[in-house]
Subunit: 227 residues, 2 copies
């Protein structure tokens, strides 16, 4: 996005993803920012190359420690392409608001974004898959996994789980008011920020649900509007 | 995303983007769905290939008739790469809610997503740039352009504006309750949808703003939570 006041976290500051610092070199604070953004984003977009052309596919992701995970059907074209060890870029973005300046040129958005690069690792064994899928469910909705109809071997076999380490991840964060230069600041137009937040509405129960079953609560770390 | 009950609009239904139908063949309804999703999404992700590797970059977009536009700095690495006529994929996604099923396997998300493929066209002349940038500002905040400090020739020169036709666009929409098979429907766990909507909060005025200036109103078509 057009962001003049952008703070780049976890990169060399040159803008070149080939030069982002590796995990051991990241400050604790940088990694914490990357974690928070990945946890807050409801979904991500994965860029991959299919038949020589770039494709950005929306998908659900989750994080465990210093890795980001995603999954899908073994029949998925994207997962077939990336499962074969090809490079991907996973980008998760939280949109925080519109930034209205005195000039069109300085309009922008407040947002938090993480990019992760690499060749995904495939989790092949059923026990490993079950372990990380449980974390996915429980991170969004604490305690949910144990209440669900247990996962079957057939379902695990039909599911591909992939992950990337956060060692080549970087974050970009744009916060705060517009950056109008001094000469524009008296221009008679409203300027400031219109914050946008994502809120959970009242749960809609499926038809035929037995009485007395309570909807799960969205985990605090999964709420995008934490700031 | 894992979506068993997915309605694909504007594609051949095979899942192969190389086979999406072209604009003249799209039903009016299909294009209207594509328009609505692009208008509702606050931002998009553009997949492009940089030095042989896929990259997904978040950016702001807008739509005029049957084209989608985006812009950035002439110094941007992404815009240099895509301005040179390389293929891109622009994907805009609106996240509508969590779909909680009786099994982990059938959990998914409700969402609306548009993918546009092609080689972007660059708008080179300043008058053409001004015309489409005005539409960008006014679509989000009606009447805003005329109140702003006028755009300068230097600013226009520093801005790249790109566009793609929607002829190779397709939409995916997942709506409604979970798709549990009959054998799972009596499992004693809450199932249904937790809707998520994006809302604009109270505007935050920039410091030093003169009294009596009113914040603009976000246009109805730019509200993501229209359904």
């Amino acid at each position: 996005m057009v962001a003049s006041k952008r703070r780049r976290v976890g990169s060399s500051g040159t803008g070149a993803f080939t030069r982002v610092r590796r995990l051991p070199e990241l400050a604790r604070y940088d990694l914490q920012v990357i974690h928070e953004i990945l946890d807050a984003a409801t979904h991500c977009h994965i860029a991959h190359i299919v038949e020589g052309r770039p494709v950005a596919t929306p998908t659900l992701h989750w994080r465990i420690d210093d890795r980001v995970y995603w999954h899908g059907s073994v029949a998925s074209r994207m997962l077939k392409a990336t499962g074969a060890g090809a490079e991907v870029c996973l980008t998760a973005t939280v949109f925080d608001g519109w930034v209205l300046a005195r000039s069109a040129f300085n309009h922008t958005a407040n947002y938090r974004s993480v990019m992760c690069f690499g060749r995904p690792e495939v989790i092949a064994d059923p026990a490993g898959k079950t372990r990380v899928l449980r974390r996915f469910a429980d991170q969004r909705f604490p305690g949910r996994w144990d209440r669900l109809r247990p996962v079957t071997r057939k379902e695990l076999g039909a599911t591909v789980v992939l992950s990337l380490p956060l060692g080549k991840a970087s974050a970009k964060v744009r916060v705060g008011p517009p950056d109008d230069p001094a000469r524009d600041r008296d221009w008679p137009v409203w300027a400031g920020v219109i914050p946008l937040t994502q809120r959970a509405g009242p749960p809609v129960a499926d038809s035929g649900l037995a009485a007395g079953l309570e909807p799960p609560v969205l985990a605090a770390r999964a709420r995008a509007s934490s700031r």
